[in-house]
Symmetry: C2
Subunit: 152 residues, 2 copies
Protein backbone atom coordinates (compact mmCIF):
# COMPACT_ATOMS: atom_id res chain seq x y z
CA UNK A 1 0.00 0.00 0.00
CA UNK A 2 1.74 3.16 -1.12
CA UNK A 3 1.13 6.82 -1.75
CA UNK A 4 0.78 8.15 -5.26
CA UNK A 5 4.16 9.61 -6.26
CA UNK A 6 4.52 12.83 -8.25
CA UNK A 7 5.46 10.64 -11.16
CA UNK A 8 2.18 8.78 -10.83
CA UNK A 9 0.35 12.10 -10.81
CA UNK A 10 2.23 13.04 -13.94
CA UNK A 11 1.45 9.91 -15.91
CA UNK A 12 -2.13 10.12 -14.72
CA UNK A 13 -2.52 13.67 -15.99
CA UNK A 14 -0.76 12.89 -19.22
CA UNK A 15 -2.97 9.89 -19.79
CA UNK A 16 -6.03 12.02 -19.10
CA UNK A 17 -4.94 14.26 -21.94
CA UNK A 18 -4.20 11.35 -24.23
CA UNK A 19 -0.46 11.90 -23.93
CA UNK A 20 2.36 9.54 -23.08
CA UNK A 21 4.59 9.45 -20.11
CA UNK A 22 8.19 9.61 -21.32
CA UNK A 23 11.53 9.70 -19.51
CA UNK A 24 12.05 13.26 -20.72
CA UNK A 25 8.72 14.48 -19.37
CA UNK A 26 9.27 12.75 -16.06
CA UNK A 27 12.74 14.12 -15.53
CA UNK A 28 11.69 17.64 -16.51
CA UNK A 29 8.83 17.47 -14.06
CA UNK A 30 10.99 16.07 -11.27
CA UNK A 31 13.56 18.76 -11.80
CA UNK A 32 10.87 21.37 -11.29
CA UNK A 33 9.62 19.68 -8.14
CA UNK A 34 13.06 19.18 -6.65
CA UNK A 35 14.26 22.76 -6.84
CA UNK A 36 11.36 25.16 -6.71
CA UNK A 37 13.21 28.25 -7.73
CA UNK A 38 11.32 29.20 -10.90
CA UNK A 39 13.95 28.12 -13.40
CA UNK A 40 13.96 29.17 -17.03
CA UNK A 41 13.90 26.63 -19.86
CA UNK A 42 17.68 26.95 -20.13
CA UNK A 43 18.12 26.24 -16.45
CA UNK A 44 15.80 23.27 -16.62
CA UNK A 45 17.78 22.07 -19.63
CA UNK A 46 21.03 22.26 -17.66
CA UNK A 47 19.56 20.36 -14.71
CA UNK A 48 17.89 17.70 -16.79
CA UNK A 49 21.09 17.01 -18.70
CA UNK A 50 22.63 15.66 -15.51
CA UNK A 51 20.23 12.77 -15.78
CA UNK A 52 19.49 12.67 -19.50
CA UNK A 53 22.66 13.97 -21.14
CA UNK A 54 21.31 13.63 -24.66
CA UNK A 55 18.09 15.56 -24.18
CA UNK A 56 17.69 18.55 -26.47
CA UNK A 57 16.60 22.06 -25.60
CA UNK A 58 13.67 21.73 -27.99
CA UNK A 59 12.47 18.75 -26.01
CA UNK A 60 12.74 20.68 -22.78
CA UNK A 61 10.55 23.37 -24.32
CA UNK A 62 8.14 20.71 -25.54
CA UNK A 63 7.96 19.02 -22.16
CA UNK A 64 7.45 22.27 -20.29
CA UNK A 65 4.69 23.23 -22.69
CA UNK A 66 3.08 19.85 -22.18
CA UNK A 67 3.22 20.18 -18.39
CA UNK A 68 1.66 23.61 -18.61
CA UNK A 69 -1.13 22.21 -20.81
CA UNK A 70 -1.79 19.50 -18.25
CA UNK A 71 -2.01 22.09 -15.48
CA UNK A 72 0.85 20.58 -13.57
CA UNK A 73 3.08 23.60 -14.01
CA UNK A 74 2.57 27.33 -14.33
CA UNK A 75 4.54 29.49 -16.75
CA UNK A 76 5.46 32.85 -15.26
CA UNK A 77 6.64 35.93 -17.10
CA UNK A 78 8.27 39.13 -15.91
CA UNK A 79 8.50 41.76 -18.56
CA UNK A 80 10.33 40.14 -21.40
CA UNK A 81 12.76 38.05 -19.47
CA UNK A 82 12.78 34.32 -20.19
CA UNK A 83 9.70 32.42 -19.09
CA UNK A 84 10.07 30.78 -15.69
CA UNK A 85 8.37 27.60 -14.59
CA UNK A 86 6.64 26.89 -11.33
CA UNK A 87 5.09 23.63 -10.10
CA UNK A 88 3.12 25.33 -7.32
CA UNK A 89 -0.53 24.71 -8.10
CA UNK A 90 -1.99 26.61 -5.16
CA UNK A 91 -3.39 30.04 -6.01
CA UNK A 92 -0.46 32.35 -5.44
CA UNK A 93 1.00 35.65 -6.50
CA UNK A 94 4.62 36.25 -7.49
CA UNK A 95 7.16 38.61 -6.05
CA UNK A 96 10.03 39.51 -8.31
CA UNK A 97 13.10 40.88 -6.57
CA UNK A 98 14.50 43.62 -8.78
CA UNK A 99 17.99 43.30 -7.39
CA UNK A 100 18.57 39.57 -7.22
CA UNK A 101 16.16 38.61 -9.97
CA UNK A 102 14.75 35.98 -7.64
CA UNK A 103 11.09 35.02 -7.76
CA UNK A 104 9.06 34.17 -4.68
CA UNK A 105 5.65 32.57 -4.39
CA UNK A 106 3.23 34.58 -2.28
CA UNK A 107 0.24 32.75 -0.88
CA UNK A 108 -3.09 34.19 -1.99
CA UNK A 109 -5.99 33.80 0.45
CA UNK A 110 -9.30 33.09 -1.28
CA UNK A 111 -10.80 36.21 0.28
CA UNK A 112 -8.27 38.42 -1.48
CA UNK A 113 -8.76 36.57 -4.73
CA UNK A 114 -12.50 37.17 -4.39
CA UNK A 115 -11.91 40.85 -3.75
CA UNK A 116 -9.74 41.12 -6.82
CA UNK A 117 -12.36 39.48 -8.97
CA UNK A 118 -14.91 42.08 -7.93
CA UNK A 119 -13.13 44.74 -9.97
CA UNK A 120 -14.26 43.17 -13.24
CA UNK A 121 -17.26 44.93 -14.80
CA UNK A 122 -19.97 42.69 -16.17
CA UNK A 123 -19.10 41.30 -19.55
CA UNK A 124 -15.54 40.45 -18.57
CA UNK A 125 -15.26 36.74 -18.04
CA UNK A 126 -11.84 35.94 -16.61
CA UNK A 127 -10.39 32.45 -16.76
CA UNK A 128 -7.28 33.39 -14.79
CA UNK A 129 -5.64 36.20 -12.84
CA UNK A 130 -1.96 36.89 -12.38
CA UNK A 131 -0.76 39.12 -9.57
CA UNK A 132 2.84 40.19 -9.72
CA UNK A 133 4.74 42.32 -7.26
CA UNK A 134 8.05 43.92 -8.07
CA UNK A 135 10.40 45.26 -5.45
CA UNK A 136 13.00 44.31 -2.92
CA UNK A 137 12.89 41.23 -0.73
CA UNK A 138 14.73 41.55 2.54
CA UNK A 139 15.91 38.36 4.18
CA UNK A 140 14.16 37.81 7.51
CA UNK A 141 14.54 34.82 9.83
CA UNK A 142 10.84 34.17 9.37
CA UNK A 143 11.22 33.71 5.67
CA UNK A 144 14.35 31.59 5.45
CA UNK A 145 12.38 28.35 5.47
CA UNK A 146 9.95 29.58 2.84
CA UNK A 147 12.69 30.98 0.66
CA UNK A 148 14.47 27.67 0.65
CA UNK A 149 11.42 26.11 -0.99
CA UNK A 150 10.20 28.84 -3.23
CA UNK A 151 12.93 31.35 -4.05
CA UNK A 152 14.57 31.50 -7.41
Amino acid sequence: MSHPTPTDALSQRLADSGLRSTPQREVVYNVLLQQRDHPTADEVFARVKAELPTISLATVYNCLETLVQCNLVRAVNFERSPTQYCPNLQPHAHFHDEHTGRTYDIDLPPSVLDQVNTVLPSGFDASSVEITFRGKAVATPARVATAAQSAG
Copy 2:
Protein backbone atom coordinates in the same frame (compact mmCIF):
# COMPACT_ATOMS: atom_id res chain seq x y z
CA MET B 1 -5.13 81.94 -20.15
CA SER B 2 -4.97 78.32 -21.21
CA HIS B 3 -4.87 74.80 -19.84
CA PRO B 4 -1.66 72.84 -19.84
CA THR B 5 -1.71 70.57 -22.89
CA PRO B 6 -0.47 66.98 -22.83
CA THR B 7 2.54 68.24 -24.73
CA ASP B 8 3.25 70.71 -21.94
CA ALA B 9 3.05 67.89 -19.44
CA LEU B 10 5.46 65.94 -21.56
CA SER B 11 8.08 68.64 -21.90
CA GLN B 12 7.72 69.36 -18.21
CA ARG B 13 8.36 65.77 -17.26
CA LEU B 14 11.21 65.45 -19.67
CA ALA B 15 12.81 68.62 -18.35
CA ASP B 16 12.41 67.32 -14.81
CA SER B 17 14.48 64.32 -15.83
CA GLY B 18 17.05 66.45 -17.62
CA LEU B 19 15.82 65.25 -21.00
CA ARG B 20 14.86 67.18 -24.10
CA SER B 21 11.51 67.53 -25.73
CA THR B 22 11.84 66.41 -29.33
CA PRO B 23 9.36 66.10 -32.19
CA GLN B 24 9.77 62.34 -32.08
CA ARG B 25 8.98 62.10 -28.39
CA GLU B 26 6.01 64.40 -28.75
CA VAL B 27 4.51 62.54 -31.65
CA VAL B 28 5.03 59.17 -30.01
CA TYR B 29 3.34 60.42 -26.87
CA ASN B 30 0.45 61.98 -28.79
CA VAL B 31 -0.09 58.80 -30.73
CA LEU B 32 -0.47 56.93 -27.45
CA LEU B 33 -2.91 59.49 -26.11
CA GLN B 34 -4.99 59.65 -29.25
CA GLN B 35 -5.72 55.96 -29.60
CA ARG B 36 -5.66 54.24 -26.26
CA ASP B 37 -5.63 50.72 -27.49
CA HIS B 38 -2.36 49.47 -26.02
CA PRO B 39 -0.35 49.43 -29.22
CA THR B 40 2.94 47.60 -29.62
CA ALA B 41 6.12 49.40 -30.64
CA ASP B 42 5.51 48.34 -34.22
CA GLU B 43 2.01 49.75 -34.18
CA VAL B 44 3.23 52.98 -32.66
CA PHE B 45 5.89 53.09 -35.37
CA ALA B 46 3.27 52.73 -38.08
CA ARG B 47 1.10 55.49 -36.61
CA VAL B 48 3.94 57.88 -35.99
CA LYS B 49 5.21 57.51 -39.54
CA ALA B 50 2.06 59.21 -40.77
CA GLU B 51 3.36 62.38 -39.18
CA LEU B 52 7.11 61.79 -39.17
CA PRO B 53 7.76 59.58 -42.16
CA THR B 54 11.50 59.37 -41.55
CA ILE B 55 11.39 58.22 -37.94
CA SER B 56 13.13 54.93 -37.27
CA LEU B 57 11.88 51.98 -35.27
CA ALA B 58 14.89 52.31 -32.97
CA THR B 59 13.79 55.83 -32.15
CA VAL B 60 10.28 54.65 -31.40
CA TYR B 61 11.72 52.14 -28.97
CA ASN B 62 13.90 54.87 -27.47
CA CYS B 63 11.01 57.28 -27.10
CA LEU B 64 8.75 54.69 -25.54
CA GLU B 65 11.47 53.75 -23.10
CA THR B 66 11.94 57.41 -22.24
CA LEU B 67 8.23 57.92 -21.65
CA VAL B 68 8.16 54.88 -19.40
CA GLN B 69 11.12 56.25 -17.44
CA CYS B 70 9.29 59.55 -16.99
CA ASN B 71 6.23 57.74 -15.68
CA LEU B 72 4.04 59.05 -18.45
CA VAL B 73 3.43 55.65 -19.96
CA ARG B 74 3.17 52.10 -18.68
CA ALA B 75 4.67 49.13 -20.47
CA VAL B 76 2.43 46.07 -20.32
CA ASN B 77 3.36 42.50 -21.08
CA PHE B 78 1.27 39.41 -21.71
CA GLU B 79 3.26 36.23 -21.79
CA ARG B 80 5.90 36.78 -24.38
CA SER B 81 3.92 38.78 -26.87
CA PRO B 82 5.30 42.19 -27.86
CA THR B 83 5.26 44.83 -25.14
CA GLN B 84 2.21 47.09 -25.29
CA TYR B 85 2.12 50.71 -24.20
CA CYS B 86 -0.51 52.44 -22.13
CA PRO B 87 -0.76 56.14 -21.19
CA ASN B 88 -3.29 55.49 -18.43
CA LEU B 89 -1.62 56.59 -15.20
CA GLN B 90 -4.48 55.72 -12.86
CA PRO B 91 -3.99 52.51 -10.90
CA HIS B 92 -5.60 49.89 -13.05
CA ALA B 93 -5.49 46.21 -13.89
CA HIS B 94 -5.47 44.76 -17.38
CA PHE B 95 -7.84 42.35 -19.00
CA HIS B 96 -6.49 40.43 -21.95
CA ASP B 97 -9.07 38.95 -24.27
CA GLU B 98 -7.78 35.56 -25.37
CA HIS B 99 -9.83 35.53 -28.54
CA THR B 100 -9.43 39.02 -29.93
CA GLY B 101 -6.08 39.76 -28.33
CA ARG B 102 -7.49 43.07 -27.15
CA THR B 103 -6.40 44.64 -23.91
CA TYR B 104 -8.74 46.53 -21.61
CA ASP B 105 -7.97 48.77 -18.66
CA ILE B 106 -9.85 47.80 -15.51
CA ASP B 107 -10.18 50.42 -12.84
CA LEU B 108 -8.66 49.41 -9.51
CA PRO B 109 -10.29 50.87 -6.40
CA PRO B 110 -7.77 51.79 -3.69
CA SER B 111 -9.51 49.44 -1.28
CA VAL B 112 -8.79 46.45 -3.49
CA LEU B 113 -5.23 47.57 -4.01
CA ASP B 114 -4.84 47.77 -0.24
CA GLN B 115 -6.29 44.29 0.15
CA VAL B 116 -3.87 42.93 -2.40
CA ASN B 117 -0.91 44.48 -0.63
CA THR B 118 -1.85 42.72 2.60
CA VAL B 119 -0.77 39.38 1.15
CA LEU B 120 2.90 40.33 1.29
CA PRO B 121 4.71 38.87 4.29
CA SER B 122 7.05 41.21 6.14
CA GLY B 123 10.37 41.58 4.38
CA PHE B 124 8.77 41.97 0.97
CA ASP B 125 8.92 45.58 -0.06
CA ALA B 126 6.93 46.03 -3.28
CA SER B 127 7.40 49.05 -5.50
CA SER B 128 4.65 48.04 -7.91
CA VAL B 129 1.91 45.49 -8.50
CA GLU B 130 0.54 44.25 -11.78
CA ILE B 131 -2.82 42.54 -11.94
CA THR B 132 -3.67 40.79 -15.16
CA PHE B 133 -6.85 38.98 -16.07
CA ARG B 134 -7.11 36.66 -19.00
CA GLY B 135 -10.37 35.53 -20.49
CA LYS B 136 -13.20 36.52 -22.73
CA ALA B 137 -14.69 40.00 -22.97
CA VAL B 138 -18.30 40.14 -24.05
CA ALA B 139 -19.57 43.36 -25.58
CA THR B 140 -22.30 44.93 -23.44
CA PRO B 141 -24.07 48.23 -24.04
CA ALA B 142 -22.68 49.45 -20.74
CA ARG B 143 -19.12 48.98 -21.87
CA VAL B 144 -19.21 50.37 -25.37
CA ALA B 145 -18.21 53.85 -24.24
CA THR B 146 -15.38 52.50 -22.11
CA ALA B 147 -14.16 50.16 -24.78
CA ALA B 148 -13.93 52.98 -27.26
CA GLN B 149 -11.36 54.65 -25.03
CA SER B 150 -9.48 51.75 -23.62
CA ALA B 151 -9.76 48.69 -25.81
CA GLY B 152 -6.99 47.45 -28.02
